[in-house]
């Protein structure tokens, strides 16, 4: 009996592993196609513009509002902790570094995955399940070039901008709560921040991070949409998978990138 359960468990683990590897393979092939067929996006910037609107402009509100709130919380918490050591002015450094290095790229990517990524998956999935992609193919229009690739580049281009907006709003939020509300010295707030935030080491690395996250989240969202079962249930499952997989991918990639960028000499 117990042996049997163990055996079945092993089979399940094996199956999940094989499925996972299979999926990574087809996702890579999918992304290869998408990038190879970018020609139409370059020739018709109109398509790209529509997708920047869809992925970027429509995510603007959520990014601004959550950035502001994250900054408010960071400012408040940081102030409460730092004032015990008599260095409340360092709260600017704390807020800026945590946002620029980590929270900006990561939280913006998570919000992007749940706002724009899920919408992308749903859009592609619905087009697939209602045969719109097939119909396009039969009209001699390549659905990769016409639909998927512009979506990918639109999202890819929007992600770093959204992360920058998020960080900027967060720092502004931190400034509001500590300087305007609590009354920390504004000059010290900015000067300490500027003294310890390095453009290349901190800000550029944060932007690189958001570029990598943008690639990952968009690739996952589009692949899940393209790969879903063409039914209503299939689409809804694909949307869930997009959010879950993107979140895991972003957090795992963040660890790897942080290890590369901010440790060592």
């Amino acid at each position: 009996m117990r042996n049997n359960t163990l055996f079945r468990g092993m089979i399940l683990v094996g199956k999940l592993t094989i499925d996972g590897v299979w999926k990574i393979g087809s996702a890579s092939r999918f992304m290869f196609y998408v990038i190879c067929r970018s020609g139409m996006t370059v020739r018709r910037p109109r398509l790209l513009l529509d997708e920047i609107y869809f992925a970027g402009a429509l995510s603007l509100i959520i990014i601004i509002v959550s950035g502001l709130f994250v900054g408010l919380v960071l400012g408040l918490q940081g102030y409460e902790t730092l004032k015990r050591y008599g260095s409340a002015e360092a709260v600017g450094t704390l807020v800026a570094l945590s946002l620029v290095r980590e929270l900006g790229p990561v939280v913006a990517a998570l919000l992007f995955a749940s706002r724009a990524g899920s919408a992308m998956t749903a859009k592609i999935g619905i087009m697939k399940s209602t045969e719109q992609l097939s119909a396009m193919e039969m009209m001699a229009v390549d659905p990769y070039s016409r639909v998927v690739t512009p979506m990918f580049w639109g999202g890819f281009f929007s992600m770093p901008l959204l992360a920058a907006i998020f960080s900027a709003m967060g720092i502004f939020g931190g400034y509001l709560i500590t300087v305007v509300v609590i009354g920390v010295d504004g000059g010290a707030f900015w000067s300490q921040m500027q003294a310890s935030v390095d453009f290349q080491g901190d800000i550029l690395n944060g932007i690189y991070k958001s570029v990598v996250f943008g690639f990952a989240v968009n690739a996952i969202a589009l692949f899940e949409g393209f790969d879903c079962l063409p039914t209503a249930e299939g689409v809804s499952r694909a949307v869930t998978r997009t959010v879950v997989t993107s979140a895991l991918a972003v957090l795992a990639l963040d660890f790897v990138l942080t290890a590369f960028m901010f440790t060592g000499a």
Binding site: M127, E131, Q132, S134, A135, M138, M139, A140, V141
Partner: protein, 275 residues
């Protein structure tokens, strides 16, 4: 019911001993069918007999496991990506539920293939779209959203979109499914009219026998992935093949059994005398 074996030039599409299997499941076996130019051909078959696969093979969306599908003499499965897309520009397809682009208006849906493949001026494009919509009687609906259309209207818009590029071949996937009798008659009439007016080779995949037999020129009957008979509507009506008879007359039981293979009923219920 003699299989047609005439010169190639009379047919636009030829299936030469085509087989298709999905994994281990064999969907089509040894299909030999030719679609005569300028005529309407109906492919009959019950659900799950490989009718849609048949259309997808013609559009090059699937590749046959055996044999070849020739479009105008060239095997579709040997075409390069570029050649296949060039061939598809000569085809139109009406999908089962229209497959209209839900984020575009009626006008934009019909304009879509024109915008993608031509560089027409806005004025000329508009006129062309209006003409195509007029052909299906929906000129007045051009500014509606696709969500505002009834099933029959959606299919007519899809038909206008399918003929936007003046194709040589048009494929109808279950054009009558889910339509009320009036809409069915409208679509059937349109298919016939478009064929007469434009000389398009049409192929109709359907299980709506009665409507189809009135408009088509030639029929092919599929059952469990094989061609069980082909001929003119007259010949099909008079066929004494039991499979065709059951299908045409809609008999409940026959060579296609009502029951999915199952153990004996009485034993399943546990009322059988034997233990």
């Amino acid at each position: 019911m003699n299989p047609i074996s005439e010169k190639k030039s009379h047919s636009l599409v030829d299936f030469n001993s085509v087989g298709f299997s999905y994994g281990k499941m064999e969907i089509l076996k040894d299909i030999n069918v030719s679609l005569p130019r300028g005529k309407i051909t109906a492919i009959f078959g019950g659900s799950g007999t490989g009718k849609t696969t048949f259309l997808r093979l013609m559009g090059g969306q699937l590749r046959p496991s055996q044999g070849a599908v020739n479009f105008d003499g060239i095997p579709i499965n040997k075409m390069s990506y570029r050649e296949l897309y060039a061939a598809r520009r000569r085809m139109g397809m009406l999908f089962q539920f229209g497959a209209l682009f839900t984020d575009l208006t009626v006008f934009e849906n019909v304009a879509f293939p024109l915008r993608e493949h031509t560089n027409l001026s806005a004025k000329l494009l508009r006129d062309l779209v209006v003409m195509k919509l007029h052909a299906v009687g929906l000129r007045g609906a051009k500014n509606l959203n696709t969500s505002e259309l009834s099933g029959g209207m959606a299919r007519r818009v899809a038909l206008a979109r399918a003929i936007a590029l003046d194709p040589e071949l048009i494929m109808y996937d279950e054009p009558f499914t889910g339509l009320d009798p009036i809409a069915t008659a409208v679509i059937a009439n349109l298919i016939r009219k478009l064929n007469n007016a434009l000389g398009i080779t049409s192929v109709l995949v359907t299980h709506d026998v009665e409507v189809s037999l009135q408009i088509v020129d030639y029929c092919v009957v599929l059952a469990s992935g094989e061609v069980v008979g082909q001929g003119t509507p007259q010949e099909i009506r008079q066929s004494d093949n039991p499979l065709i008879k059951q299908f045409i007359n809609g008999q409940i039981d026959g060579p296609v059994p009502l029951h999915y293979p199952a153990p004996d009923y009485t034993r399943d219920l546990g009322v059988s005398s034997e233990k």
